[in-house]
């Protein structure tokens, strides 16, 4: 599966996802500016992305823990998610995300 990620400069990166890995891990390993300070424990809100182009609705809804943690993110929009909480899967092939501002 592919992830189409737009960084903070507006540059678009297409990176190969791995089933079962989080989108955060894929983006971070691809060198995108994802801080992910807590390492993916849904505990810091520094892997905040916007899920665009209709993909937000295709995701499993965020857990209460993720909704709570998004309160600590900046510039939250209705399509905000924490990328550590999105798991790569075949049905998400082509998912589009934009890295949120720092």
């Amino acid at each position: 599966m592919k992830i189409v990620a737009t960084d903070r400069k507006g540059e678009v990166h297409t990176v190969e996802g791995r089933d079962g890995w989080s989108v955060m891990e894929i983006l971070r390993d691809a060198g995108l500016p994802i801080a992910a300070e807590c390492g993916g424990a849904c505990a810091c809100a520094t892997c905040h992305v916007y899920v665009t182009d209709g993909w937000y609705e295709k995701l499993k809804p965020p857990s209460d823990a993720e909704i709570d943690m998004l309160d600590m993110a900046l510039a939250v929009e209705p399509n905000s998610r924490l990328s550590c909480q999105i798991t790569c899967a075949p049905e998400l092939d082509g998912i589009k995300v934009t890295v949120a501002p720092e």
Partner: protein, 340 residues
């Protein structure tokens, strides 16, 4: 007046704490400096209740439990903690020792410095609003030090966690006006606080609005108004003179970057024998260091602390011979640990 010790550790996370143990076994006294008001670093600040599964011998342990156990383990060594302080300057003294200063004017002189600062200092998150830095310290504050300074102010608070709610409740009686904004009509804060806040809104004493702050207006650091972006994308103008954003903490390297340690992408390069930086006498252990094959794991940091301690001993006690001993069999180590 500077205090003297053997080793100063910058960072009281799990690796800094275990460094106290390894240095303590070698009879080296330690001081720790940490910007947080309690030990544990990321373990207690970011994930106190999350289980960690890869600590040898502890199949499952939370960040808080690991910190508590490390604190218990290092208790015999009586390390001095300087909490709530940021290490701000490092100076080499003519006698070869180092002097570390903090933003609370603490000065510690030591033979060696150990940087165990993880991802850096925890500092408040700054909302991405153009020009906000011009207002910081004058009209925009990330913490309330003296409540009295906010008497009679027209206050805007942003955020949905405990800090935002607590300060809304505490400042409401003092403020001339107070508005709380949050991006949704739901809070991760203590339910009792949320209920109290809603009561104040019902009584007309404060306002709550589902909105985010889009722009600040004012001059010379004096805030006069803000533009709010409402949930329905309409904009609103709100007159206010004080803005308190509460979005938690993030990690920034801070003044360590100015310590002359030849940083590589905000990490300190070290050798893998002593975990010493290119500057002799300054060591770096845990997530803050880098070397070929580095893994950012707590267990790697523990190993690094043990080897660092051997090297620090030779700096602090140049005329003494280091005898390697096991805690299982050495009665002198057991005496230090208070178990013999």
């Amino acid at each position: 007046m500077a205090v003297e010790t053997d080793v100063v550790i910058v960072g009281a996370g799990p690796i800094g704490l275990f460094a106290v143990f390894e240095l303590g076994l070698l009879d080296l006294k330690t001081h720790l400096v940490d910007i947080l008001d309690r030990p544990g670093g990321q373990c207690t600040e970011l994930y106190p209740e999350k289980p960690i599964y890869d600590i040898p011998g502890l199949p499952i342990v939370t960040g808080q439990e690991l910190t508590d156990r490390l604190m218990e383990q290092i208790k015999p060594f009586g390390a001095t903690f300087h909490l709530g302080q940021m290490a701000t300057a490092l100076e080499k003294l003519p006698d070869g020792r180092w002097k570390l200063k903090t933003d609370a004017d603490t000065e510690v002189v030591a033979h060696a410095i150990v940087v165990a600062a993880g991802g850096g200092s925890f500092v408040p998150k700054r909302p991405p609003i153009a020009g906000i830095e011009d207002y910081e310290g004058k009209s925009v504050f990330y913490a309330v030090r003296k409540m009295e300074n906010f008497r009679g102010k027209n206050i805007l608070i942003a955020g949905g966690g405990d800090s935002a709610l607590d300060w809304t409740l505490n400042l409401a009686p003092l403020a001339n006006s107070l508005t709380l904004v949050h991006h949704r009509d739901g809070f991760r804060a203590n339910q009792h606080s949320v209920n109290q806040m809603r009561e104040l809104v019902d009584q007309g004493k404060i306002k709550f609005q589902v909105a985010s702050v889009k722009a600040l207006h004012g001059a010379g650091g004096k805030l006069e108004a803000v533009t709010l972006l409402n949930h329905d994308k309409t904009e609103a103008h709100l007159a206010c003179d004080t803005f308190l954003p509460f979005f938690g903490l993030t990690m920034k390297l801070g003044p360590i970057a100015e310590f002359g340690l030849n940083l590589h992408e905000n990490l300190i390069p070290v050798d893998t024998e002593k975990f010493e930086s290119p500057t002799p006498g300054i060591f770096a252990i845990g997530d803050i260091n880098t070397y070929p094959g580095k893994l950012k794991l707590i267990l790697s940091g523990f190993h690094e602390a043990a080897l660092m301690a051997q090297a620090a001993f030779h700096i602090a006690r140049p005329n003494e011979k280091l005898r390697f001993q096991y805690t299982t069999s050495s009665s002198s180590l057991q005496k230090k640990l208070g178990v013999a």
